[in-house]
């Protein structure tokens, strides 16, 4: 039921653009890593609150030669004042062994809600960023990253 719950999550979240990864036979053949329980983990973190698309922007290349060190940036539109700021930015991956990749906790003194780091990606997959604002709302962005296959690598 993982797919079912994922779809429900997507629908509930206002349709993160993850539609490009609907499984078919051809895709299954090439999929070397099965999806983890990302939707469940996101739901657990966010609770019943809606996750709206917008405000968050993920910077990730559309494809990388190697998933070992992938540059990631995230920026959230926010004045970053006492009254209105980003409290946290959470990054989730669909096919890494663990979906929770990294969380950043911010306050108004951060000045800007921009972060940059490097992450490891186990396979071609969707990356989701969710920002939690001081008013309790959640905003998100998602993107798909192709990790190209190493030449003679095979699943065993």
């Amino acid at each position: 039921m993982k797919h079912g719950s994922r779809r429900q999550f997507l629908a509930a979240s206002g349709g993160l653009a993850i539609g490009a990864v609907l499984p078919t036979r051809a895709a299954a053949q090439l999929a070397r890593v099965p999806p983890n329980n990302m939707p469940d983990v996101i739901r657990k973190l966010v609770g019943p609150a809606p996750i709206k698309p917008g405000k968050v922007k993920i910077g990730l290349p559309p494809l990388v030669e190697n998933g070992n060190l992938v540059p990631l940036s995230i920026s959230v539109e926010s004045p970053m004042t006492e009254a209105d700021h980003v409290k946290a930015i959470h990054v989730f991956t669909e096919k890494n062994p663990l979906p929770e990749t990294v969380s950043f906790y911010l306050g108004p003194r951060a000045g800007r809600a921009d972060i940059a780091t490097r992450i490891r990606l186990a396979d071609t997959q969707t990356v989701v960023a969710i920002a939690q604002l001081s008013d309790g709302s959640f905003w998100s962005d998602s993107t798909h990253v192709i990790v190209t296959l190493a030449a003679c690598l095979e699943e065993l």
């Binding site: 539609g19 490009a20 990864v21 609907l22 078919t24 036979r25 051809a26 895709a27 053949q29 090439l30 290349p61 559309p62 494809l63 990388v64 030669e65 190697n66 998933g67 070992n68 890494n96 490891r120 990606l121 186990a122 396979d123 192709i146 190209t148 296959l149 190493a150 030449a151 003679c152 690598l153 095979e154 699943e155 065993l156």
Partner: protein, 726 residues
């Protein structure tokens, strides 16, 4: 394929419509892009895989890279089989990685390695042809205002049965391209295949013979400059300083540039000027700790792993250690396999042109998408401002697959000369010393027999380097490298072909600083030598025939056994060989194909080995082009036999010692044995062809060498033992 330069950069498709159909959103799962896309000459694209010109020429798009292995012809055969087109009118072209990314990966995976070209894309390539066929027939039926079911199709001609009207693909392609692609078009039953399975001639032979094919090193662009590069010869070292002023005045020199932290390049009018200046350039390296490493220190590191307590388990049943400890008879042997370089005939190269708005790269690559990704990273530009144009590869073998260091370098060099195309071509010396080497391993094998000479326990301990740890650590499984066990795992594409009551195959990972890579066949090369030579040692110890001994252990592996039996029968195993000729056997399953070989050799008094014949069998499930498979087998033996007789990269002061073919030899035509290939596809699965057979040549020859001389050789290459191939 026709590649005209510099028109290559204009080969991009003209997207005839901005509307993105719903099929596109499904990405590669349905191989259709925006409606209607057109080829550069305006011809309509029926599906992403098929463009048809008004003159009935069928252009089949191929995402995988042709590098001599024949995938271009094989994949075209598969698409054409379903398309029902006239094969004499088929030509091919590469879509670019940039187009594929822009079209949500319309052509799927570009990776050409792991012997995957055909076996992992056969379904969607055939579907691309089948869907196009249905659309073409529908277009004809629509024009005639008849039901499509009344129309038949053969050889690019569509016929309306009841009226006898005929038309051709070229006449209806434009209309067909506007039809919504049907979903789930059924594929033919393999029993009805007409093109697949036939030994059709290669599509690229004429262009190859006439010199029309453009390899990366051949490329010339207007205003192009030439560059060559030197990385720190000690892996992990850096550039400390260099004195550009010393060579700035040399003829043709345009610029001396640092590339990253680790390399220096010279850009000049001609390549020779760049090379001459780079040779003269004083460079001081910060070589670091690795400069202390030598082949001897690496061997010591690995040797310690042979008896280490901790190791990753790759295959286990029963209790091998206890069984061996209580055995009536024990057999033990230690083998070692060296570093080897891909040594592609064409050194690494790429041409790049960089401006703030666009970065274009021309190169040979086994993975257009990976080259594209390297271009994005190095240029810092977004995907819609980058493009990679694939040229032919003068050898891939894994070197141009997982590592696009040469693309990254070319872009970083071109960035320092904006607007000017720069061709970066490595020297042979750079290519030899900056490889991504076949990893180094040692292996200790111990077998135990009961009093009845039955093998009761087997322990295979591999000690040595992990490729994935260096290249793709994210693919490790709890720290273990599953690829280390290729050919000796319990099930799957690399299934071990023997049943032993108590078995342990494990790996003590020891990683020297020399960067490892995927070298054609990867870890099956040494694993086949280890296990197949040791099987002969065990048979000898048990006083049994090498074939009969194996057969007893292979009863539960009928497909493994079938190919072994096939070579034994063809070679006449068990019957007397000609005077002075000795035989050896080997088998393995790799890349989902079952392979076996029987070598016949003679050895002269001064240790000169003549391989009289190698009989080889492969069961790849389906044989798309049997003639091409036979050539692949022979080609794999060139690589495998060169490796076992002559090839070793040694390490001194942290760097590779061999710098050219004088010390890193490759076999010659006169040394090539007669190869008899038995292609025996049993159906129901898809196996690879390019790599599997490479691994059985060496152990078959080594076992024959023992039969001839009574000597077991357990470290390689054979030249180190004074053994020469003649």
């Amino acid at each position: 394929m026709i590649i005209d330069t510099p028109k290559i950069s204009r080969r991009s498709f003209i997207i005839g419509s901005a509307a993105i159909g719903s099929g596109l959103a499904l990405g590669m799962n349905i191989p259709f892009g925006p409606r209607v896309a057109r080829a550069a000459d305006g011809s309509p694209e029926v599906t992403a895989w098929v463009v048809i010109r008004p003159d009935d020429t069928v252009v089949i798009r191929i995402a995988r890279s042709e590098m001599g292995q024949g995938t271009l012809t094989g994949l075209a055969q598969m698409c054409a089989e379903e398309l029902e087109c006239d094969w004499s009118k088929v030509t091919t072209e590469y879509p670019t990685p940039g187009q594929s990314v822009a079209r949500k990966r319309a052509w799927g995976d570009f990776s050409t390695g792991g012997s995957r070209g055909i076996r992992e894309s056969h379904e969607y390539v055939r579907k691309g042809g089948a869907t196009a066929r249905v659309m073409l027939v529908q277009a004809a039926a629509d024009a005639w205002k008849v039901p499509a079911a009344e129309c038949s199709v053969a050889n690019s001609v569509i016929t309306h049965g009841p009226s006898g009207r005929k038309t051709t693909f070229g006449a209806v392609a434009e209309a067909a391209s506007r039809i919504t692609p049907p979903k789930d078009v059924p594929l033919k039953d393999p029993k009805t295949w007409k093109l697949i399975g036939k030994p059709i001639k290669r599509l690229d032979t004429t262009d190859k013979l006439t010199g029309k094919q453009i390899y990366g090193a051949d490329l010339t662009l207007p205003g192009m400059l030439n560059a060559t590069i030197k990385e720190c010869p000690v892996f992990g070292g850096k550039v400390k300083s260099f004195d550009a002023a010393k060579v700035a005045g040399m003829k043709g020199v345009k610029k001396v540039v640092q590339v990253g932290d680790t390399a220096v390049a010279v850009i000049a009018d001609t390549w020779w000027q760049a090379k001459t200046a780079l040779d003269a350039l004083p460079i001081v390296w910060d070589e670091g700790e690795n400069a202390k490493v030598s082949s001897a220190s690496i061997a010591d590191l690995l040797k310690a792993g042979l008896d280490a307590d901790q190791a990753f388990v790759g295959n286990q049943n029963g209790d091998a250690k206890t069984a061996i400890a209580g055995a009536a008879k024990r057999v033990e042997a230690v083998y070692a396999y060296p570093y080897q370089n891909h040594a592609a005939m064409e050194p690494m190269n790429a041409t790049a042109r960089y401006t703030a708005d666009k970065c274009e790269v021309w190169c040979g690559t086994q993975n257009g998408e990976a080259a594209f990704a390297a271009t994005l990273t190095a240029s810092g530009l977004p995907a819609d401002k980058c493009e990679v144009y694939k040229l032919l590869l003068g050898g891939g073998f894994g070197r141009r697959g997982a590592f696009h260091d040469y693309v990254r370098q070319a872009v970083l060099v071109a960035k320092q000369m904006p607007g000017v195309p720069v061709k970066l071509l490595w020297t042979r010396e750079e290519d030899m010393t900056q490889g991504r080497y076949h990893p180094v391993t040692q292996c200790k094998l111990v077998g135990g027999f009961d009093a009845g000479n039955n093998l009761t326990g087997l322990h295979m301990r591999i000690s040595g380097q992990s490729i994935l740890t260096a290249v793709r650590p994210e693919a490790l499984k709890d720290g273990a490298d599953p690829a280390t066990f290729q050919g000796v795992v319990p099930s799957g594409e690399f299934e071990f072909g023997y049943s032993v009551p108590n078995l342990l195959i494990d790996h003590a990972m020891r990683n020297p600083h020399v960067p490892p890579g995927f070298w054609r066949g990867v870890n099956i090369n040494q694993n086949a030598i280890y296990i197949e030579c040791f099987m002969d040692e065990l048979a000898q110890a048990a006083g049994q025939d090498a074939l009969e001994f194996r057969r007893k252990l292979m009863a539960k592996h009928p497909k493994h056994l079938a190919v072994l039996n096939a070579v034994a029968e063809r070679a006449g195993w068990g019957k007397p060989a000609p005077q002075g000729v000795f035989r050896g056997l080997a088998q393995m399953k790799a890349f989902n194909s079952y392979v076996a070989a029987c070598a016949e050799i003679s050895v002269s008094g001064d240790n000169k080995v003549k391989i009289q014949r190698i009989v080889c069998a492969t069961d790849p499930g389906y044989a798309v082009n049997p003639a091409q498979i036979e050539r692949q087998i022979a080609g794999s033996f060139v690589y495998g036999l060169s490796a076992v007789f002559d090839q070793e990269c040694t390490v001194k002061n942290g760097r590779i010692e061999q710098t050219n073919f004088n010390t890193y030899n490759s076999m010659r035509i006169a040394q090539m044995p007669k190869v008899e290939a038995i292609v025996m596809p049993s159906g129901g699965f898809w196996g690879g062809v390019g790599e599997p057979t490479i691994c059985v040549a060496a152990p078959a020859v080594l076992n024959a060498y023992f039969a001839a001389t009574g000597k077991r050789i357990r470290s390689f290459p054979l030249k180190n033992h004074g053994i020469a191939l003649v």
